[in-house]
């Protein structure tokens, strides 16, 4: 798929690439807002009407998907990354449209220790209100629609404390969504790791068993994950950008491709990968122990099943780490091929020969 549709040598190749890109985008239902960029227009009356009718009160599964703006995504990722291994949090600004939530913007909150207490946001109420007030003066009319926080290195899901915080939010600040970003996994996997969740009200039993994508969870967090994972559901996430964004991003690629080529994920992720392998070895020990136990009690199917399950999960975890490491290695090999396997001394390339000739005859 051609994202490098600009800056290519021939005009024919250029238009073909753009046609290919458009076709791909059409077939994948990419949200391209029209030239007027309607979504950026804030219709106060419409939003107030929605707030009075509160359709989400009757249906715990009312919100099905969420649209996040390119700017909000970048801000969340940058803020999460700046926290390093510490969790950070912030607020989301946006609105509601039918069964979708729309996140237009996000901003960081000056709060620490977000994973150790319920409703850490309370400390920053003053900051929040001042910020939103100031934002209204520059055309940011949307209200708070959710909060986000980061889980550096341990995946996008809601911990017990997060679930309690979100239940509180969903009682008093509806409509509200919880977004979790993992900046470490974003970098190691090479793609954005983000999840948007809404909790079910206490005592509600979701009608169908939802099949969610398997995530690698570190051993010390597995219990926290398992206990609460049925208390919330995730929304489908799509991203949108304005027409100016699109043009700027395309132009950006003209300079940015250098960074893509020069990124070294093996080095950047070395610490994280080591941590993953340690975790994996501990999981293997654990599954081994549970299988070993089953050897003593003959015909105890539940233990065996659990042991095998654990082993299957450990397999998936190892696959994930393997893939990331191999990707990093691929990058290194590509770079080595491009820049090392060319020798200027031994076989003179046509370019350097031509340059020699020209430099000798400056005319």
């Amino acid at each position: 798929m051609a994202s490098g549709g600009n800056g290519t040598g021939t005009a024919g190749g250029d238009s073909q690439a753009t046609i290919a890109q458009r076709t791909w985008e059409l077939s994948n239902n990419i949200e391209t807002i029209s030239a007027v960029d309607e979504i950026y227009h804030y219709d106060r009356q419409q939003q107030q009407d929605i707030l009075t009718t509160k359709p989400w009160e009757r249906d715990p599964h009312f919100f099905k998907d969420i649209k996040i703006s390119a700017l909000a995504l970048l801000k969340m990722v940058m803020h999460s990354r700046s926290g390093g291994t510490l969790e950070v949090m912030g607020l989301l600004l946006g609105k509601v449209d039918g069964n979708s939530m729309i996140v237009m913007d996000s901003f960081a909150l000056p709060v620490e220790g977000t994973e150790t207490r319920v409703n850490a946001q309370a400390q920053a109420y003053e900051y929040m209100t001042a910020y939103i007030e100031a934002a209204k003066q520059v055309g940011r009319m949307e209200n708070a629609i959710g909060w986000y926080h980061s889980h550096p290195g341990y995946g996008c899901w809601l911990s017990g404390i997060d679930v309690s915080t979100q239940l509180l939010n969903q009682s008093y600040q509806e409509p509200f969504v919880a977004i979790v970003v993992d900046p470490t996994r974003t970098i190691s996997a090479g793609k954005v790791c983000l999840g948007a969740f809404r909790t079910y009200p206490k005592g509600y039993k979701p009608p169908s068993e939802e099949v969610s994508e398997y995530q690698t969870i570190p051993l010390n967090k597995i219990e926290d994950f398992g206990v609460h994972c049925k208390q919330y559901y995730s929304l489908d996430v799509t991203y949108f950008k304005s027409s100016l964004d699109r043009r700027l991003l395309d132009s950006l690629w003209n300079k940015y491709w250098v960074n893509t080529l020069s990124s070294t994920s093996l080095l950047t992720n070395a610490e994280y990968t080591t941590g993953q392998i340690f975790d994996l070895s501990e999981k293997l020990e654990q599954s081994e122990n549970s299988l070993g136990r089953s050897g003593i009690i003959i015909g105890s199917d539940p233990h065996e099943k659990k042991g095998e399950d654990k082993l299957a999960k450990a397999t998936k975890d190892s696959c994930k780490t393997t893939i990331e490491v191999i990707h990093g290695l691929m990058t290194q090999i590509i770079k080595s091929r491009l820049f090392n396997d060319v020798s200027c001394q031994n076989n003179r390339s046509p370019a350097s020969e031509a340059i020699d000739v020209v430099m000798e005859n400056p005319s």
């Binding site: 798929m1 949200e31 940058m78 991203y239 491709w257």
Partner: protein
């Protein structure tokens, strides 16, 4: 990571190629007074710009336009970041409120002070660096605003983004101000500064993701394909750039193109910088790293998948149960001896 723009292809607002000096000669903007310094002036600082700032400004402009029913308006805001000696890193930005008084823009100081307090709480290591606005080349109105900003911070920079430009280059200019004598009176003029795109790995991935919008149906595209696609796009760009340089050199050789010694020197030094790393020691270490990683990775995966599906699962585990430390190492060694031969052949 920062990179210099390649000499033959850098273009900023249609100015002739340059790498370190401010390009334009006297620029007349639609009959208005010229506010750019003559081309011999060189900027005193270097600038690196994060893409987040570009997205911020773009969003500010788009939303202002959307709230005003499609009418395009100039927007103004502040840029913040870090400065180390003569290098500025522009990392973030926020909007500013202004009023139009007698056809002139007046910045609202109280609003700025409120925002300054806020950003100091969250981004404590960043300082106010300057301001941004939308538009083409700087105008006298920009000088007027710049003077007001100078009261907040002594040497601000101006970042201008042109939202109406359609060509493939990034329509951004960064300027600093100098005081010069023009017609025997001291005036403030703008000097264009060269900038590079700074980046952080997570930001790069975010920008990549948004640019290619692969949010729909992630599970269907293979991870390997996605990774290789992004590498492929980057390599395609590299290839097109190299081809461009080659074409230029050939044309210069034929006499079709004017010879620019600077461009040729750059190309020559580029050729002689390859291969990037040659010593024997590097080759050995690199091979070693490749083998280690691939061997361990494949061994881990194959061992687990193979043995999970195995019917003798219980037996095997009972056998190895007594020897946890050495067991894994033994398996890895077994696999590695088999795999090492294949891997070395495959990659080199």
């Amino acid at each position: 990571m920062e990179v210099d723009e390649p000499a033959p292809t850098s273009q900023q607002n249609g100015n002739p190629p340059s790498t370190s000096s401010a390009p334009p000669s006297i620029v007349i903007c639609g009959g208005e007074e010229n506010v750019m310094a003559p081309s011999s002036t060189v900027g005193s600082i270097t600038v690196s710009l994060h893409p987040l700032v570009i997205m911020n400004i773009s969003e500010h402009w788009t939303r202002t336009r959307a709230q005003n029913d499609g009418k395009q308006e100039q927007v103004i805001g502040a840029i913040i970041g870090q400065h180390k000696g003569r290098h500025l890193e522009i990392m973030n930005s926020f909007e500013l409120v202004f009023q139009i008084v007698d056809d002139l823009i007046v910045i609202d100081r109280d609003y700025y002070r409120t925002k300054e307090e806020q950003f100091k709480q969250v981004f404590s290591e960043m300082d106010f660096l300057g301001w941004y606005t939308t538009g083409d080349i700087p105008t006298p109105s920009d000088i007027h605003v710049h003077k007001q900003i100078t009261e907040i911070y002594e040497s601000p920079v101006l970042l201008k983004l042109n939202p109406l430009v359609k060509n493939a280059d990034l329509p951004i200019g960064v300027y600093e101000s100098i005081i010069d004598i023009v017609n025997s009176e001291t005036t403030m003029l703008f000097v264009q500064l060269p900038y590079v795109l700074a980046t952080e790995e997570a930001e790069r991935i975010g920008v990549d993701h948004v640019a290619r919008m692969s949010a729909a149906d992630n599970s269907e595209t293979s991870l390997v394909a996605e990774h290789l696609l992004s590498q492929h796009s980057a390599i395609k760009m590299l290839h097109s750039r190299v081809k461009l340089i080659l074409e230029y050199v050939k044309a210069a050789q034929r006499g079709d193109a004017p010879i620019s010694h600077e461009a040729l020197r750059h190309a020559y030094s580029l050729c002689h910088r390859l291969p990037a790393l040659q010593p024997e020691r590097f080759k050995n270490d690199f091979y070693q790293q490749c083998c280690d990683l691939t061997r361990n990775a494949s061994a881990m995966r194959n061992y687990l998948t193979k043995h999970v599906k195995n019917d003798n699962l219980k037996q095997r585990h009972r056998k190895y149960h007594h020897d946890p430390q050495h067991r894994r190492l033994k398996i890895l060694e077994m696999e590695s001896n088999r795999k090492r031969y294949f891997l070395v052949m495959k990659f080199f």
